[in-house]
């Protein structure tokens, strides 16, 4: 006889729910967590947050200094993204199947990119802190390395995807390697490249805050400073300013994307 599939599903669902409920209850018992207390604490926490985190007069007096640091951080993120992308593109050309000079070199390029990409930006910041100390270089290179690894990876894929056909056509005309890259691959990949660079600028601005907290520079340092000196209203103003900056950059890059794509 055919087992009823709907009854089976219902029984499975009940079983999963039962297991989940048992796990939850067990965890509550083990950690001596008071459910009622936990829920009633939420409104109180919100009230405290509103009282302490809403930027006050004192915080707004610090705005020029915050904006100054913000500008520094944004510019550094842009510099890291653009310079790393230029290097990334060069290495991607070595790595892509269409344009590589030698398979071994391609493997090397992909490997390098993988290492740079898979070490997190915070890890890079802490590693580089030893070399460059508490300076803007530390943050710059942390962002640079991660952007570089990412751009190499995505541009290798873009190059192979977008330009294999036209590269074959240009090779058939007898065009040299440099001409094939500048006349076929670059024009074909440029919109994607620009799009990825914009994306990395956005990501870098977000990461820069964290990197700043870790390395004691830029807007992240300012946030850390205010936060640790219990100056919560100023710290929250820093956060607000960062959010506004990220939104503005996103809007700007979306506009640019629409134009180039």
């Amino acid at each position: 006889m055919q087992p009823d599939i709907f009854q089976l599903r219902r029984r499975q669902g009940l079983l999963y729910f039962g297991i989940l409920a048992a796990l939850t209850y067990g965890a509550i018992l083990l950690t001596e967590y008071d459910v009622v207390e936990g829920i009633t604490a939420v409104p109180r926490a919100l009230a405290w947050a509103v009282r302490n985190f809403v930027p006050d007069q004192e915080a707004f007096e610090r705005l020029p200094r915050i904006l100054d640091k913000l500008l520094e951080t944004v510019l550094m993120s842009i510099a890291a993204a653009t310079v790393a992308s230029a290097f990334g593109l060069a290495v991607a050309l070595m790595g892509a199947t269409t344009t590589r000079l030698h398979p071994a070199l391609s493997l090397f390029a992909r490997g390098i990119a993988s290492v740079f990409r898979n070490i997190d930006v915070s890890a890079w910041a802490l590693i580089l802190l030893f070399s460059f100390g508490q300076s803007a270089y530390t943050g710059y290179f942390a962002l640079f390395f991660v952007t570089f690894g990412f751009i190499v990876r995505v541009m290798i894929e873009t190059i192979d995807e977008v330009s294999t056909d036209s590269v074959e056509a240009l090779r058939a005309t007898g065009a040299g390697y440099g001409a094939i890259i500048s006349q076929s691959i670059i024009p074909a990949c440029l919109p994607q490249l620009i799009s990825w660079v914009l994306y990395m600028i956005e990501t870098n601005i977000r990461s820069a805050t964290l990197v700043g907290i870790l390395t004691g520079t830029g807007i992240g340092f300012l946030f850390d400073l205010y936060f640790k000196s219990f100056n919560y209203s100023s710290a929250s103003l820093v956060v607000l300013v960062i959010v506004v900056a990220v939104l503005l950059v996103e809007a700007l890059s979306n506009t640019i994307r629409r134009v180039v794509l």
């Binding site: 058939a172 007898g174 040299g176 440099g178």
Partner: protein, 261 residues
Amino acid sequence: MALLEIEALIKRYGSETLALNNITFNVQPGEFVAIIGPSGAGKSTLLRCVNRLITIDGGDVRFDGVSVPALRGAELRRHRTRIGMIFQHYNLVNRLSVIENVLHGRLGYKGTLQGILGLYTEEEKRDAVRIVESLGLGEQLYKRCDQLSGGQKQRVGIARALVQQPKMLLCDEPIASLDPNAAKIIMDTLRDINRSTGITVLVNLHQVDVALRYASRIIGINKGMVVYDGAPGALSHAQIHQIYGSEAGELILELSESYAA
């Protein structure tokens, strides 16, 4: 003297697969040769051996007295400039304009720096415009190629091959992605070029009826071997069977009968 002499040509993919097995034939200047055969017979591989987009594993290919298999570097590039190539998928840089794509045909004649910067002489530009206009694309000169229809794109591909001032055109399934009307325009164009300029045409085709209508000579290939080489009129049903293998028989016979009628 023959323009193209192919002698005992062998091409392997991997260590096992024999893509071209002992191919031998000559092409005289001004001939319009159609190469027919089933998918995977080695037609594309054969064309790519002629302009050395791929390496040759055995035998000899002589083009205009020059032995092709051992060519390298600048000599290989010079060899390729003398042969134009047209592709099934057009292989244009879609984001560039018609005239820019057509001028790519001149890159084979450029030095490294000129090629990278895309510097073309006034004369080259005038020549390119003249060819584009003669193919009926004068209106589209500055249009981006992604705005063109398939037939127009293929004419851009032909123009790019013609500005090379080649002695021979290699056409790899030039009409396989086109509707019947556009296909007729492309085949008529190739025949006109062949007749008015005397440029030798070597064209891979799927459609037997098209090959019979346009070619002055048919070469049938099956499993990497030449199984027919002769005039279109002398091609019998039995021989078409042999080229395509017996399973495909019925459809092919109908096709060639409708052509004969």
